[in-house]
C-alpha cells in the first residue's frame, strides 16, 4: 500500500507512485530525480515535522515535511 514519504521509518525503502503538487514543484523534484517510478530510501527525519532526508540514486536529498507528505511511496514488504 502506498504511504506518504513523510510516514516512512528510517531505512524503509519503496518506489514512488505519485507526487502531488504544482508544476513548479514537480519540476524542482524532477530535476533532482524524484519522479514516479523512482526508488527511494528514507534516511532520517528531524523532530517536530522537520525536513526528511532521503536517498535517491546516489544522492541524499533533504526535503520539507509538507513536500514529503505529498509524495506517495509503495513501500517494500520485506523492509517493513
Amino acid at each position: 500500500m502506498a504511504r506518504p514519504l513523510s510516514d516512512l521509518r528510517p531505512n524503509e525503502s519503496g518506489v514512488i507512485t505519485e507526487i502531488h503538487g504544482g508544476k513548479g514543484l514537480l519540476n524542482r523534484l524532477g530535476a533532482l530525480g524524484i519522479i514516479p517510478g523512482r526508488r527511494v530510501t528514507k534516511i532520517s527525519s528531524m523532530f517536530m515535522r522537520g525536513p526528511i532526508t532521503v536517498q535517491v540514486n546516489r544522492s541524499q536529498i533533504a526535503l520539507g515535511f509538507r513536500m514529503a507528505s505529498n509524495i506517495l511511496v509503495d513501500v517494500d514488504r520485506t523492509t517493513q
Partner: protein, 568 residues
C-alpha cells in the same frame, strides 16, 4: 571565445574553474538579479578565451533565480564544458541531456573521477562518449588530473543535435545510458560516510553541530584578533598616525574642517576609535575593525561551505528557522552576524525571497551582537558577574525568536520549504578556498567601504554641527524615564547610532549599576546597527523596507529596555 562551465551544484565546478583560469578572476552580479557568478581567462591552443563559472543548476527549466541565470547564460556561450560528478552520474546526466538539446558544442568533464574507485563505481567512458556523442574527459580537479586533457580537447567539443524531450523521456534515456555504462559493486561505508550520516541525524547531528560551531567561533576570533593586533593596528598606528598628526598641526588642531576630516583630538592625540574623523575613524572602522573579521569569517565559512557541512546544519535548524519565517539556510547570515553584521546582511542575498531577506537582515541587525559589541558586553557587564552576561545574551536570543515569530505572522507570504541536496564531505584544495576568499574580500571592499566612508563623512558633519546634542536633548526623557538610565548615558545611546563599541565605551565612563549596564548593553545592541551595517542594510533592502526595519529596531529596543527596567 566564451567557454561556459555548467553543472549541478557541488560537483567541483569551481575547482575546475580555478584550475583553468589564473589568479585574476572577477565576480559580478548577473544584471537585475542577486545571483553572482565568476569569470576569468585562459588560453585554448594559444588563443585567449573567457571562462565563465555559471551558477550550479539541476535543470534548465528554472526553479530558482540562480537556475534562471544559468538558463539565460547558456545561449551566450561558444563552448559548454559540462562538469559532471562521476560518483553521481545518473542525477548529473539529466542536466547533461538538457544541455545537449541546445545545439551548442559540448565537452564533458567527468569530475571526481578518482573518487569512483573507492566508492565501487565503474564507468565505461568510451561507451558513455559514444552514447552521448560528445567528448568525455575523466578529471580529478582536486589533484589536477585530466585538466590538461580537458583543455586540449575543448576544440573537439561537439553537438549531437538531441531533440527536445520531456522530463519523463529524459529520465528514461538517462536510465538507458546508465544501464550500459555503469557498474556498481557494494562497498562498506568508510569512516567519513558514517560521519556524513551522523551529522544529518537529530541527536548525533546536534552534538556535531555544537562542536563545529564552537570550533568555528574560536577559529574566527583567533584569526580576527590576531589580524587586528599584529597586522591592521600596527599599520594604522605606525604609518597612518604620524601622517594624520602632521596634517592635524597643519590644519591648526581644531575647527570644523579639522574635526570632520581628522576628528576630535583626545588628550592631544588621535584616537582611532573615538576621534571620529573621516581619515581616522572613517578609515579605521572599515579597515581595521570590520575587515579583519570579514577575512576570518569568510575563510571559515568558505571552509565549511566547500567541505559540504552547511546543508547539514541547515536541515538540523530548519524546523526552528521556519518558526521565524526563514528556512534552514538562513543560519549562514545569522552566524556571520556574530563576527560582523556587514557581511551578514550581504549574505542574506543567498535567500530566495524578498520576505526572507527582510526577516533575516532585520533579525541579524536587531539581535545578533557583532564581535566588537560582544567584546564590550563582556568588558562592561562581565565584571558584575557571569549571570548578567547571560541575561544580556538570553534577552537577545529571546528577542531573536520573538521578533522572528512576530514578523513571520505579520508579513504576508510564507517561508518556502527546504529542498536541498546533501553533498558528501569533501576536502577542497587550499587554492580554491583562497581564490574564493580573495574574491569575497574584494567585493566587500568595493561594495561596502565607499558607502561607509560617505556615511561617516555626512554624520561627522552633522555631529560637529551639534545635531546629535540636539537629538540627545529631546530624547533624554525617554532614555531616563523608560530605560532608567542616568542622563549622562543619553549621549552614549545617541552615539550608538554611529558606533556600537564607542557608545558602550562611553557607558563605561559613567558609574552604572549592574542592572543599568545590562539594559544599556541590550538597548545599544538592538536599537540600531553600527554605521557600516546601517548603510549596507539600506543598500540591500531599499529605502522602504529599510525604514520598516529601522522602526522595528527602535520600537523593540525601547520595549525590551523598558521591560528589563521593570523586571530586573
Amino acid at each position: 571565445m566564451k567557454i561556459l562551465l555548467m553543472g549541478n551544484p557541488n560537483v567541483g565546478k569551481s575547482v575546475i574553474f580555478s584550475r583553468l583560469t589564473g589568479v585574476h578572476v572577477i565576480s559580478s552580479n548577473y544584471p537585475g538579479t542577486t545571483v553572482g557568478y565568476t569569470r576569468g581567462h585562459m588560453r585554448v591552443n594559444g588563443n585567449p578565451a573567457e571562462v565563465i563559472d555559471v551558477p550550479g543548476t539541476y535543470t534548465l527549466e528554472p526553479t530558482s533565480e540562480a537556475e534562471e541565470v544559468a538558463a539565460r547564460m547558456l545561449p551566450t556561450g561558444d563552448v559548454i564544458v559540462n562538469v559532471v560528478d562521476a560518483t553521481n552520474l545518473e542525477r548529473n546526466l539529466y542536466l547533461t541531456l538538457q544541455i545537449l538539446e541546445h545545439e551548442k558544442p559540448v565537452i564533458i568533464a567527468l569530475n571526481l573521477w578518482d573518487d569512483t574507485k573507492h566508492r565501487g563505481i565503474d564507468i565505461n567512458v568510451d561507451k558513455l562518449q559514444e552514447l552521448l556523442g560528445v567528448p568525455v574527459i575523466p578529471t580529478s580537479a582536486l589533484t589536477g588530473q585530466g585538466i590538461r586533457d580537458l583543455v586540449k580537447n575543448i576544440s573537439e567539443a561537439a553537438s549531437p543535435h538531441l531533440p527536445p524531450q520531456t522530463l519523463g523521456e529524459r529520465w528514461k534515456l538517462v536510465g538507458n545510458i546508465i544501464d550500459q555504462v555503469q557498474r556498481i559493486s557494494h562497498r562498506h561505508h568508510t569512516w567519513y560516510e558514517r560521519l556524513e550520516d551522523a551529522s544529518a541525524k537529530p541527536l548525533s547531528g546536534g552534538v556535531i553541530a555544537a562542536i563545529v560551531l564552537i570550533a568555528s567561533f574560536m577559529a574566527i576570533r583567533f584569526i580576527g584578533e590576531n589580524l587586528i593586533t599584529y597586522v591592521f593596528d600596527p599599520i594604522f598606528e605606525v604609518f597612518l598616525k604620524p601622517v594624520l598628526l602632521h596634517l592635524s598641526t597643519q590644519m591648526g588642531g581644531t575647527g570644523f574642517f579639522h574635526d570632520v576630516i581628522i576628528g576630535k583630538m583626545i588628550g592631544g592625540d588621535i584616537h582611532f576609535v573615538e576621534s571620529f574623523g573621516l581619515l581616522s575613524s572613517g578609515l579605521y572602522v572599515p579597515f581595521a575593525m570590520v575587515l579583519p573579521y570579514v577575512i576570518s569569517f569568510y575563510f571559515v565559512l568558505g571552509l565549511l561551505e566547500d567541505i559540504g557541512y552547511l546543508p547539514r546544519l541547515a536541515i538540523l535548524l530548519d524546523t526552528t528557522m521556519h518558526r521565524l519565517g526563514l528556512h534552514g539556510f538562513a543560519i549562514v547570515p545569522t552566524l556571520l552576524g556574530f563576527g560582523c553584521n556587514v557581511p551578514a546582511v550581504l549574505a542574506t542575498r543567498v535567500l530566495e525571497s524578498k520576505r526572507e531577506r527582510f526577516i533575516a537582515a532585520t533579525l541579524v541587525s536587531i539581535a545578533i551582537p557583532c564581535a566588537s559589541a560582544q567584546a564590550m558586553i563582556f568588558g562592561l557587564v562581565g565584571p558584575f558577574g557571569g549571570q548578567y552576561v547571560l541575561i544580556v545574551y538570553g534577552t537577545l536570543f529571546t528577542v531573536w525568536i520573538v521578533t522572528g515569530v512576530a514578523l513571520n505572522r505579520i508579513l504576508k507570504g510564507f517561508s518556502p520549504e527546504l529542498l536541498i541536496e546533501i553533498p558528501p564531505y569533501r576536502f577542497p584544495p587550499w587554492r580554491t578556498i583562497f581564490q574564493k576568499l580573495v574574491m569575497r574580500i574584494r567585493s566587500f571592499l568595493i561594495e561596502a567601504v565607499p558607502i561607509i566612508l560617505a556615511a561617516v563623512l555626512v554624520i561627522n558633519i552633522l555631529f560637529v554641527m551639534g545635531v546629535f546634542d540636539f537629538i540627545a536633548d529631546i530624547t533624554a526623557p525617554v532614555i531616563t524615564g523608560v530605560l532608567g538610565l542616568p542622563k549622562e548615558s543619553v549621549t552614549a545611546v545617541v552615539i550608538g547610532f554611529l558606533r556600537k563599541d564607542a557608545a558602550l565605551g562611553m557607558l563605561a565612563l559613567s558609574t552604572l549599576s549592574a542592572k543599568q549596564m545590562v539594559i544599556g548593553s541590550v538597548v545599544l545592541t538592538m536599537f540600531f546597527p553600527c554605521i557600516a551595517t546601517f548603510v549596507v542594510l539600506l543598500k540591500e533592502l531599499g529605502l522602504r523596507d529599510f525604514l520598516k526595519s529601522a522602526t522595528i529596531m527602535l520600537l523593540s529596543s525601547l520595549a525590551v529596555g523598558g521591560l528589563l527596567n521593570v523586571i530586573l
